[in-house]
């Protein structure tokens, strides 16, 4: 069992989307239910969804899951009859959790390793928007040890320290022509290590409805001395930087969730996320050599945005659970700020999944999430790139769990 879980942890390149570059694939049961799970004590993934609910889990357990994201984006420049597509990649974000401690005790322990932010967008190196971006690989893995305390039979609180490991690799073309007639290129690559936290409260009301309220803090992913690799004419090499510093704010997220239990076999979960995207004001790169190119400050000016998630689970029998969900995510990106690395717009989420329990302890959960990002037209105020983006995503996933 441990080996299987470890093998999931090894699947390192980890990327995806749900709202801009936020990823919401932190548990297969919850993903199959539209991504809702803050107001219910569903499983070990509560370490992420609501640390306050961890102390209400009936069993200890360990689980590991992975998703494959098939992201299909199309772009057409204003005035052109051509359609350009992003390249096929299969980012595989994972999430793994374990919950320990006696279920009879008030204090429980948990640990989670998950990927709340990331992106993998690759365009043809010679596409229309190449001077804006040709590829972005972005990933933040959060490692979160967690304590959860049941302060009464109806109220649990919990919190965890987040250690964030970030990686970024941004590539674009530069409008300086090499001797072979091709464009110069730049690659900015770096890693970050930062801290944050996650806390939540879980309440079982007398009416039978459960309520969760959580907050995951902002993390400033800070890249220091990242590598700035420029493929430029030799005559200009000494005037270009080799290192850069940058900070990407990973926004705080507050969530209010509800759990409804119309029957013993049926759970309905409703979540409202509020993501404080306003912290993403610009994407700035501070270079170590400004002889030819100045430090860049690309405006992003994101706004706070909400996501609404509704999911239902029906335990058909002791072997099989059926799940479905729907969600709607409002975009944090204002008109004029849509960029090809994150061509964001309001999006509709539809999900379904099944859970299988071949034995009392062992479980397998499958999910399938379909995201339909609405078509969005506009002109970026920084690059002047004008056109229409349309994205759909198909995201299957699987998780294995073991109760002990």
């Amino acid at each position: 069992m441990k080996k299987i879980l470890l093998s999931f942890l090894m699947v390192i390149p980890v990327w995806g989307f749900s709202q801009s570059f936020q990823v919401n694939l932190q548990g297969q049961k919850q993903t199959a239910m539209g991504g809702a799970g803050t107001g219910v004590a569903m499983d070990e993934a509560s370490v992420f969804f609501n640390p306050g609910a961890v102390s209400f889990l009936k069993q200890n357990g360990v689980q590991g899951g992975v998703n494959g994201i098939m992201l299909k984006t199309a772009f057409s420049q204003t005035g052109s009859n051509l359609t350009e597509h992003n390249q096929n990649k299969l980012p595989t974000p994972f999430a793994a959790y374990a919950v320990f401690g006696s279920p009879e005790n008030r204090l429980r322990f948990g640990i989670g390793v998950y990927t709340p932010f990331g992106g993998a967008m690759h365009w043809d190196p010679n596409w229309t928007g190449k001077y804006a971006v040709t590829s972005l690989d972005l990933q933040a893995i959060y490692i979160q040890p967690t304590l959860s305390l049941k302060i009464s039979d109806n109220i649990g609180i919990g919190g965890g320290l987040v250690y964030s490991l970030g990686k970024v690799d941004l590539q674009r073309a530069i409008p300086i022509t090499l001797n072979n007639g091709e464009s110069s290129t730049a690659q900015l690559k770096g890693t970050s290590k930062d801290f944050g936290w996650n806390a939540g409260i879980y309440v079982k009301t007398l009416s039978g409805i459960s309520i969760g309220l959580t907050h995951r803090s902002k993390v400033n992913a800070t890249v220091k001395d990242g590598d700035a690799n420029f493929n430029i004419p030799d005559a200009l090499r000494s005037t270009f930087p080799t290192k850069f510093n940058a900070t990407l704010p990973l926004p705080a997220t507050s969530t209010l969730g509800f759990g409804f239990y119309p029957s013993e076999k049926t759970t309905i979960a409703l979540d409202i996320n509020w993501v404080q995207w306003h912290v993403y004001k610009d994407l700035s790169f501070d270079y170590d050599n400004n002889a030819r190119i100045p430090d860049t400050h690309s405006p992003r000016n994101y706004k706070d945005a909400a996501t609404f998630r509704l999911g239902i689970e029906n335990k058909a029998n002791s072997f099989l659970a059926l799940r479905a969900g729907i969600g709607y995510a409002l975009t944090p990106v204002n008109d004029g700020y849509v960029t090809p690395e994150v061509p964001d717009a309001n999006r509709l989420l539809l999900s379904a999944g099944i859970g299988l329990k071949p034995s009392e302890r062992f479980g397998v959960d499958f999910s399938f999430l379909y995201e339909n990002v609405l078509a969005r037209s506009g002109t970026n105020i920084e690059t002047g790139l004008s056109g229409t983006f349309k994205t759909v995503a198909y995201i299957p996933g699987v998780a294995l769990s073991y109760k002990f």
């Binding site: 052109s80 009859n81 359609t83 005559a235 078509a375 037209s377 983006f389 349309k390 198909y394």
Partner: protein, 442 residues
Amino acid sequence: MKSQYFYKSVLALAILGLASCKPSAESVNTVVPNKGNADFSRYIAVGNSLTSGYADGGLYLDGQKNSFPLMIAEQMKTVGGGSFSTAFFQDSQSDGSGYKYIAGFNADGTPKIADQNTHTAVRGQVTIPGFGNVTLFTKYTGDLNNYGVPGIKLAHITYAPYGNLNGFYERLLPGNAGTNNTKYLDFVTAKPFTFFSMWLGNNDILGYATGGGVGDVPTPKGDFAALYNLAVSTLKKGGTGGAGAKGVVATIPDVTATAYFRTVTLASILATVHASSGGAAVENIYIQPASGPARPATAADLFILPLGSAGLIGKADPKGPYGLSPYNPIENKYVLDKDEVAIVNDYVASYNATIRSVAAANDLAIMDANAMLKEYGSGKVVNGAVVSGAYITGNLFSLDGVHLTPMGYAITANGFINAINAKYGSSIPIVDVTKYRGVKFP
């Protein structure tokens, strides 16, 4: 086994997802190609060096392949346009007339410009009595849609012997050097066509300006108007055997706004002098204007690009160092003084007024190249690429400072396409400017 059934279903779903369903072209495309009320089945391009694809101080194969008429013709193919022939130099003679490239940079950052002429198409030289030497190029025979002839003025289009005076035109004509008597206007209208672009008139003022007001004279305004009317009325007939044609004409860019006149400036000359030994105290640069005595230059006087590499400024002389003494001023041929600038501006304004009124009277589309060059020359971000009139780094002007880079020609092509679409209700798709290069760096 029940579970097997589920595994298979999920696997099937996953495969379905992998294979599916990129967003459709209809979900993002805004343009459905449509010819509107024009007929693009045979398009011809009438014009000078800018039409031919001239760049980097020469006409060569790579420049020809990046001419704006060829780009337009490619896009017209989506709306019923036919094949489009250019008088390409052969691959073995791809240097054409020869052209300039950057061999390296000097310590002060200025470029070392060198000549590329190992595989030219030069076939000889002929002396035309009363005119002088004309360089001849390998003849082109075959279909022709791009009639761009480097150097041609509007004033030349009805001049029968012109084929003997311009090697680029001679190369397109069947007769041998010295024996030609085909007027350019007759040549371009010898076959039927349905659509034309005409961008003529630039050279009627360019020679005067680039020569610092020395040598060439501007075409008289009245002659320009008469010839422009003649050219348009002739082209509208659609050529011999044609049934009429629609078309687009373009205004003349303000040549004093090109990199040719904006790279070597009073400030840049003074900065170089101040940095030289013993030059720190120099306050004035002296020029010889067209009329009157030598005087200190002002920011309103423009210097031509070749002065920068001529190596003359400060050169010792018994009359005083070159350009630094009123007794040894910068020669008139290197300077377009402020009075000459005013003359150039006056002619360009008059020519453009003619072009606009003739286009309007004949119901033709008009591409305002003058406005376009001002817009991009002053700096504009195009799909993330900064384009400006800056020499070498601006991506707009080629190494000669007057003609455009492939990227500049792509921007020009889109200017024409937008003008055509606006006039004729057509939807010719635009060119992807980012696919075209700027000046090559070593």
